[in-house]
Amino acid sequence: MNIVVLVKQVPDTATRIKIASGGTEIERQGVNFVVNPYDEFAIEEALRLREQHQGQVTVLTVGDEKSEEALRTALAMGADEAVRVSAAATDSMTTARAIASVVHGLAPDLVIAGKQAVDDDEGQVGSLVAALLDWPQVTVVTKLELKDGTGVAEREVEGGVEIVDFSLPAVITAQKGLNEPRYASLPGIMKAKRKEIRQVSVDAKTVGEPTLRTLSLQLPPERSAGKILSGMDASSAAKELVRLLHEEAKLI
């Protein structure tokens, strides 16, 4: 069972976003970058599957040298190999093309990614890679079992769970709840520091033309001050709030 895990380095979820001077990106200065939280579930699931079925876990990211930190974190958790893909990818489609070309060469049984990156919130790279490779996909997975070249996954949908049968090779995207990601051990961290990260360049022809361009990035409008009731007993405060919601906001 050879598994490729797609990881992305993103700003910590506690980050307060500032817009950089160009108006299309965030200010990266002073931001703490971490492994995308959903990718941690993907890494953990791959490690557990390796424990059950043997094989190798390769973590892969598309990015610059700084993004190697995310790969080191995955190596410290227990991944066997790491690949950093250099490509002129500017959107999800070009990123997915670069990933698909490298994954094609690695020919794994399974690709696992986080269900979305918490920066651009697109959640499309996993499915795009599956489509480009003509592989099946199961997204937003909360439970996964593999056996003899096939799998059963549970995926979270509105108000329920879908149980999906699929065959390998396939792309899975991980949702919170799939597992509890382990912390990297100290020996794991020491070992990860010495591991070589393989660099792969994907040429411009393979990456192709981008399909999206960011026109602008703005902070959301500030909300104006509200009516806050304080110093009232619970009963009068509740009566007044319901009155305001009914008569003023006309919501109930």
Binding site: T13, D91, M93, D119, D120, S127, G160, G226, M232, A234
Partner: protein, 324 residues
Amino acid sequence: MILAVLEAEGGALKKISFELLTAAARADEALSSGGVTALLIGPGAAAAASSVPAATAREVLCAEGVAFEHYAPQAYAQAVLAASEAASAKAIVFGATSYGRDLAPRVAAALSAGLLMDVTDLFAHEGGLAARRPVYAGKAIAQEHALGERAVAAVRPNAFAARSQGGAAAPARALAVEVEAQNVRAKVREVRRETGGRPELSEAEVIVSGGRGLKEPANFVLVEQLADALGAAVGATRAVVDAGWRPHHEQVGQTGKTVSPGLYVAVGISGAVQHIAGMSSSRTIVAINRDGEAPIFKLADYGIVGDALEVLPELTREVGRLKG
């Protein structure tokens, strides 16, 4: 033409479908594309098609049959591509639901088209389609332009006003789609329902969410009672989900769901950055918290500084009295 990929269940259109028709009309206006064609895939497609108003779509294409009996991304993508071809679609619009989010990328990949995901508005830009979409779970808003001949968009639930229902139905016809079974290698076997009768979080008009201020898991029943009085969905913070008080599918925030209901009631929630990210686009926010300095009050349109455990039963009683 704009292709609107509608959603139905048990032969009835879902609420997102009427929102999608508004979004499709917006895209049609932006691209002067000559109208909207709707598509329904799966069992009950033809039945659901009869409630697509003629005012919203020129035609409804229905893909039914054994290949579409259960959701299968590869087969469904084939149907969308066939419909897109039949309608000469300039843009394809999905709901940013578990269905649309899963399916849209496969269609976008096949067309090499830009996929505008989870959009809250659509507009024209340099002859193409562009969109506003929240990023960083709503901490910032991006405007993105889909380059190339065709665009794909997935629209966020509750972001577009629903088109009015009723009136004459749009004409419907069956769409023939060739699907080879060996090309379908992932398929839904069954669906397990888990809402307990409450509305689903990402589609709900009203949400009541609880956090640490409820002190212990058993007190969440007070949140549920208010939610039921309001006909609301129940949400939770990451802190209480991680503590095992509530299931993850109720989590609102950057590693949970991003929601935009008409009314969001935050109970015993201080307002951590990652929680606020997931709910700050709600139209009206109500906060109930013991600490008057809590960041959630900076966002709130209405609030009560007080003990959630005392205020909640009173609120539930008042709402019940009002609704009679």
